[in-house]
């Protein structure tokens, strides 16, 4: 092991790494800059002038607010559905032995491995087969398919680290099933659920593909942005919205990362 004193990497590697990072993040920076441009019909580099007027314009556009509100509601409800179903499923898989347990575990995770377009087409044909009209709830259902996976993965990992005898100890001390869940299980999986929930929210908030197949006339924020790019009018509004989306999704993901990172000493350390 030569990890002592962390040897310096060769210069070439450093430059390559810097280029890689720039390639990943420069375009995002461009998006931000175009939010301040004075040119509204097309993106010209360099921007002919800088202005903050687009923030006010965006604020006064009702279609932005509608899309934003729909996205937030969809993300919130799908996350809620995912929290309940994902936790229940994780509890069943990690607490009990039953026939087909591994298969169920795989089937739950599958939607996130499948391309979104497959999930989208499958749901769309299922909805039309069952003659369910597209609505807010069909979008929620579509998003819940991958939100459940995120919550499930987080919860299952935490359940595995939680000592099973803790639940027995709680029962032994006089707590019924509900009290045991409230006072022992929930506090032990809370950070995992928070992390899973935030990831699920972020995923749902910027989801495009599944939404295009499961939404009717309604526009979630990402769909609205896609449509807006085609129209040559007030283009920087899209960029302002993009900045907001980046912030709204980035913060929960960062928070989720910090919450799960420190969770290692939590449970089952009774030995």
């Amino acid at each position: 092991m030569r990890s002592d004193g962390s040897p310096s990497a060769p210069l070439g590697l450093k430059i390559a790494a810097a280029c890689g990072l720039l390639f990943l993040h420069l375009p995002i920076l461009l998006i931000f800059i175009y939010a301040f441009t004075t040119e509204e019909k097309s993106f010209v580099w360099p921007p002919p002038g800088l202005t903050t007027q687009w923030f006010a314009v965006t604020w006064n556009r009702p279609d932005v607010w509608q899309a934003l509100s729909l996205s937030v509601r969809v993300a919130a409800i799908s996350t809620l559905v995912a929290l309940v179903l994902g936790t229940l499923c994780a509890a069943a898989v990690s607490r009990t032995q039953f026939f087909g347990r591994e298969t169920i575990s795989l089937l739950v995770i599958l939607p996130i491995a499948l391309p979104g377009i497959i999930t989208g087409i499958a749901l769309r044909s299922a909805f039309s087969l069952a003659e369910i009209p597209f609505s807010f709830w069909t979008i929620v259902l579509g998003h819940a398919t991958f939100c459940v996976v995120v919550v499930y993965n987080n919860a299952v990992a935490r359940f595995r680290r939680t000592s099973g005898s803790m639940i027995e100890a709680s029962m032994d001390l006089g707590a019924d099933g509900f009290q045991t869940f409230r006072y022992v299980v929930l506090p032990n999986i809370a950070t995992a659920l928070l992390a899973g929930g935030m990831l699920a929210f972020a995923l749902s908030f910027d989801e495009v593909i599944v939404t295009t197949f499961t939404a009717g006339q309604q526009q979630t924020l990402p769909i609205w942005m896609l449509e807006e790019l085609i129209r040559p009018r007030q283009r920087p509004v899209t960029n302002v919205v993009a900045m907001v989306v980046v912030l709204v999704t980035l913060l929960p993901i960062l928070l989720a990362y910090y919450l799960t990172r420190d969770g290692d000493q939590i449970a089952g350390s009774g030995k």
Binding site: L173, G174, V184, S269, K271
Partner: protein, 332 residues
């Protein structure tokens, strides 16, 4: 008198595995009862049957005269000290101990006072604010004990509570548990695979093997008068003697047991005794353990340290007091 715990023909089968098989058991109120056996012998399943984590496949269990089948763990006046202690990592020590009172709806001040008292009882006063993760193994064990005792159970179940402790701590805890039990007068049921622990702590011992009870009795009974070869061998590694051998010394064609410490070692070809050869010696500190070969029969003897010993491989003559040769009822 009502038994503290009574098993009548209790069986617990897991598929084709008979973890507990037709067990009859009566535990007297206020006694320190040990369930002793190798792993997989059914002793822990019996404990879980009393706690309510398992339900019997057949037979009936009663706790202080009340039928226990179908009663969930949280409605039994029985508490358990778990092998891994199972403390709640998200609660501090005081809240851990007060947990049982909290879920029963006891007020905050009252339950904290009771928890403090329980912590004093296990000699951990003032540890309430700490987290379980900050305690040593021995301290966690005391917290687990306090957490169970604060509920004033009628029966306290202990599942290998000393298994994870080092030798010195274990000896201290043995004495402490015993005096605690005497002071509180609560019935203790204790599961262990360590025969020394069972003999030194318990008022009575049940020896388990293959889901059945081989023998129940006082430690002296179990040690001096084992009923079966399994008990003789498992409790204190007695020499199990085949009927042909026993017949020469007692006139009866039965299995016998002879304690290693009852065997005396003498010079070869002197007087009447058992001719043998010394195979190996094991120095154990206070005593030395000898492995002997008497015409194909493997015997063990224990002699005090400092005794003059023959060399390994040498021929010796074994003698013993015939009263020490114990005849067993069952061949099993």
């Amino acid at each position: 008198m009502t038994s503290a715990v009574s098993f009548q023909k209790v069986s617990r089968h897991f598929g084709s595995v008979r973890a507990v098989d037709m067990v009859d058991l009566d535990i007297v109120p206020g006694e320190f009862f040990a369930m002793l056996g190798p792993s997989g012998s059914g002793k822990t399943t019996c404990l879980r049957l009393i706690a309510g984590f398992e339900q019997p496949t057949s037979g009936s269990i009663s706790i202080f005269g009340e039928r226990a089948e179908g009663v969930p763990p949280y409605r039994r006046n029985v508490n358990t000290v778990f092998q891994d202690y199972a403390l709640f990592p998200h609660l501090n020590v005081l809240d851990n101990v007060a947990y049982g009172l909290m879920v029963k709806g006891v007020g905050k001040l009252e339950r904290q006072k009771a928890a403090e008292e329980a912590l004093s009882l296990v000699r951990l006063p003032g540890y309430g604010a700490r987290r379980p993760g900050q305690l040593s193994g021995g301290q966690r064990q005391r917290v687990a004990l306090a957490r169970a005792l604060v509920n004033q159970p009628k029966v306290l179940l202990l599942d290998e509570p000393l298994g994870a402790l080092d030798l010195k701590l274990r000896e201290n805890m043995q004495e402490e548990l015993k005096s605690l039990q005497k002071a509180l007068g609560i019935t203790f049921v204790f599961v262990t695979h360590d025969q020394g622990e069972a003999l030194s702590m318990a008022d009575r011992v049940a020896v388990f093997n293959d889901g059945r009870i081989m023998q129940i009795g006082t430690p002296e009974d179990i040690y001096q008068r084992p009923k079966t070869r399994f008990v003789a061998d498992f409790v204190g590694s007695s020499n199990v003697l085949p009927p042909d051998f026993v017949q020469r010394y007692s006139g009866q064609h039965r299995w016998g047991s002879l304690r290693p410490e009852s065997i005396r070692i003498g010079r070869a070809a002197k007087g009447d005794g058992v001719a043998a050869r010394l195979v190996s010696t094991n120095y154990l500190g206070a005593t030395t353990r000898l492995a002997l070969d008497a015409d194909g029969l493997r015997l063990h003897a224990i002699v005090p340290a400092g005794a003059k010993l023959p060399r390994e491989g040498e021929a010796v003559m074994l003698t013993f007091n015939r009263e020490h040769l114990h005849l067993m009822d069952e061949p099993a």
